[in-house]
Assembly symmetry: C2
Homo-oligomer: 515 residues x 2
């Protein structure tokens, strides 16, 4: 059963019960189900035509697969392989068999059970902006991302229950590439108990990361393999290229039972056809090829379908996000994902250079495309500027406010006889007010979402307090969180063992990325 079409209303009642003993508002942002109806952009027959075109493209035009091992896996399944041209031509029977073994539901284990993440249609999982070379904030300005930035951003990610995974928010460029995975794991282990991302930068790094994670979590081989404990993102090189580290990642993650989230990054008019239908057809073909590799490697391996399809400015070639075409591409991908029945990822984003109204509007608009597309995992849902070249601390905060508001909608609302409150109407005469009504008094401490960064004070009060805009207020907010965040989220003994092991591995030369 898919869960993505029904508004959910559970939770509020439980919250109100809880509120009776403690007047603090209780909300569960950790387990979200998409409350929005799904939206289609194309008719079902056109979606089928796109699916068939993608199959045709894979069979007749083929994918360039740079890793010989991957080509061999495809060949063993019966694909036509041209090793000289590094081309793989995949018949639809191979793809259909692979799709049949891909799991519909994946339970990922985090550092504690209440941080576990289930990936299936109908769930809604948020990830902050990731993969940026730069970090920026109002105090320190825009700079190349550093380990310090990474650690601070992991603290912020850990702080908010509405963020469910710890991605590579920025590149810690002050850490050499052959040691970088140690630095990112250190932050993920010591500062967070959420599901960690591991980069697919070649088998040596990936295997070390798996081993370090397994040790840190104290898992047997069987336990580690029984559920995913980390995830990676696999970007194809559109059009129609699967490069060496990405193909290795698909194979390594599938073998280890860890999650690959397949994401062709197909910019309409640049690396993909200019039309929504064309770009999504290409994205779909590439996703099918990648998903197939995981299932050929190990049937049942956890894998997510995905896309990140937006458009470029055709005058400058600059990528754009949160556009109408991006929105439509998300909807089309959602239709294809539901056709397959697989959990899937989509993405928001913004091309703005500062955390202004453009930035807020593009990210929220892109997020709505993901919500209405029924995306399972929504990546770059907060904090991304410059089309992903920078993560902004302030934008992270202001975007998280929107995610929290969406999480509130997941809880639904009640309309019991008491909620409808005819008794309250009787209590308050015409032209009166409800501030003191018993119906109000019973609920006033817990009924409404309280904004984190939104300021509802009037103009006079706001002016007296310094006329601070949302970004300025967000600076104070993230600084407070970073300052107060614990440095020892993970167990101390395991963290010490991890750091010892990392010291030895570093001395031994680390593990350079492969390409």
């Amino acid at each position: 059963m898919t869960l993505d079409t029904k508004p959910r209303r559970q939770g509020r009642r439980a919250k109100q019960e809880a509120a009776k003993s403690a007047p603090a508002r209780k909300v569960d942002y950790r387990n979200l189900r998409n409350p929005f109806p799904t939206m289609n952009v194309f008719s079902e027959d056109r979606i089928e035509a796109m699916h068939l075109a993608a199959l045709d493209a894979l069979e007749r035009l083929g994918m360039k697969v740079l890793l010989p091992e991957a080509r061999a896996i495809y060949a063993r399944a019966g694909a036509r392989v041209d090793d000289g041209a590094e081309m793989v031509y995949l018949g639809r029977d191979i793809i259909e068999a692979a799709l049949a073994t891909a799991p519909r539901s994946i339970t990922c284990r985090a550092g504690s059970r209440d941080r576990d993440v289930t990936l299936e249609l109908g769930r809604m999982v948020f990830q902050p902006g990731a993969g940026a070379p730069h970090a920026t904030d109002r105090d320190r300005g825009r700079r190349p991302g550093s380990e310090r930035d990474f650690r601070e951003l992991v603290k912020l990610t850990q702080h908010f229950d509405v963020l469910h995974m710890v991605p590579p928010l920025i590149e810690p460029q002050d850490v050499p590439m052959h040691l970088r995975h140690y630095a990112t794991l250190d932050a993920q282990f010591s500062l967070s108990d959420k599901l960690p991302f591991v980069f697919s930068r070649g088998t040596p790094q990936v295997r070390q990361s798996f081993e370090l994670l397994q040790e840190f979590r104290g898992l047997s081989d069987e336990e580690f393999a029984a559920n995913p404990h980390c995830y990676t993102i696999i970007n194809t090189n559109s059009p129609r290229v699967l490069d060496i580290p990405m193909a290795q990642g698909l194979i390594d993650f599938a073998r280890a039972g860890q999650v690959s989230i397949v994401t062709p990054f197909t910019l309409m008019g640049a690396m993909a056809p200019i039309t929504v239908a064309g770009a999504i057809t290409l994205s779909h073909a590439e996703a099918l090829a990648a998903i197939t590799l995981t299932q050929l490697t190990r049937p049942g391996a956890p894998v997510c379908y995905g896309t990140f399809t937006s458009n470029v400015d055709m005058k400058s070639g600059a990528p754009a996000f949160g556009t109408p075409e991006h929105f439509q591409a998300s909807l089309a991908a959602g239709q294809l994902a539901r056709r397959l029945g697989l959990p899937w990822r989509c993405a928001s984003g913004s091309a703005a250079n500062i955390n202004d109204a453009q930035a807020a509007n593009e990210t929220q608009f892109g997020n709505w495309g993901c919500f209405l597309a029924g995306a399972t995992v929504i990546i770059h849902s907060a904090g991304w500027l410059e089309g992903g070249l920078t993560v902004s601390y302030e934008k992270l905060i202001t975007d998280i406010e929107v995610l929290q508001m969406v999480a509130e909608l997941c809880a639904g609302a009640e309309a019991s006889t008491d909620d409808i409150g005819l008794a309250a109407l009787e209590e308050v005469g015409p032209g009166g007010h409800f501030f003191g009504a018993s119906h109000t008094m019973e609920r006033y401490q817990t009924e409404f979402y309280e904004p984190m960064i939104g300021d509802w004070s009037n103009f006079g009060t706001w002016s007296e307090r310094g006329s601070l805009d949302a970004s300025t207020r967000a600076t104070a907010k993230w600084q407070e969180i970073v300052h107060d965040a614990p440095e020892d989220v993970g167990p101390a003994d395991r963290l010490a063992a991890f750091r010892e092991r990392v010291a030895r591995l570093s001395e031994a030369g680390g593990a350079p990325p492969e390409s």
Copy 2:
């Protein structure tokens, strides 16, 4: 047939045909149908319970109706009236009969046929922020609204096809109340050919406005009465009071065949019960009472259902907009509107004090509540700050960008075989790009929405150009539009006659508002 549940895809094809002869992108923002699926917050049986509770409240608790004429109209229909207490108790049979005669579709005539506005379920009509005492822009700061501000804001409203009505954006406080309706009509007639708003500030002003409008448009009595040529907003004084000018407005507009948009303004926890279900039940009851008055006055009179229900900060009493509770209230109102089958209005808004990320996020979030609620008319969809105390010129521009992006979604997308573009995939090899593909070249001038104020340039270019944020860029944009806008949109001879008549009416003392 209601049209609010089906995504629409027409238009793109026609656009592409048009684009073949002229490479400029052609879009029709003037006639929008809601492309989004409607969302429910309550089950149908709970909506029915709310409807029944509203009927019960009207019958048993009653409405306070301050205008004797209105009470007499209700009494003639069989309502129990207590003139001493100014109370009206409405039986459900009276309400049901009224709902049966209220029109499901209303075609409003604007200054030209292609500006006409059809109000029915499934349509999407945008109005900028309205009713603010103040105006603000980055150059001149925040000030009491003036006639100059009003005229500039009407120019901006006229400029954008995605805005469909000319509301009272700000109060021109430098014009005395007894002459103010002349000043607003002058702006609406000389600067715009869109559907004008007329304030219900008592029968004398309203009748004069109707006469001036009828003359200016050159309409016979029959023509003026055959279709609405203007609209008003009727706010009840929640809870359960209908004041004199509002009741007069309902009667005067109904008699003249002009549109009343009924809008209880019910802030949860203040003028309404604290729960979404309670506040919307009260709003629904008040709307039913007001709609009933229009139909008792003249069966078939054009009237819209509506609500504006949000919450307050329970610590300070400050109103908030674009909140999760506001969103849910919009959804509940949409369910009730669909139950009645009537066109209806909803509203967005923001409590922010400046055009920052909070302002953008609240307004867009509030707008999404209206979109998914299937609202016919979305009021305050652009430009509102401080919970409606100020209209910001810059926010008007940045919010309109979002409305334009939504209008693009209304046009849908095509997925013909040619759009899917397998031929383009054949043309571009693995790892290539599509910039020069014939599939791209045929479409690149017209395929994508071009942002009005969004800046997609990279950080270096953006910095070289002065690091301007969206609000700063919006200042240049509105100044250009105001500077270039025509001052003579209406026919010169009729405008001269209108101004002569207004001069005589002004000399004769104008028409003070009633209360």
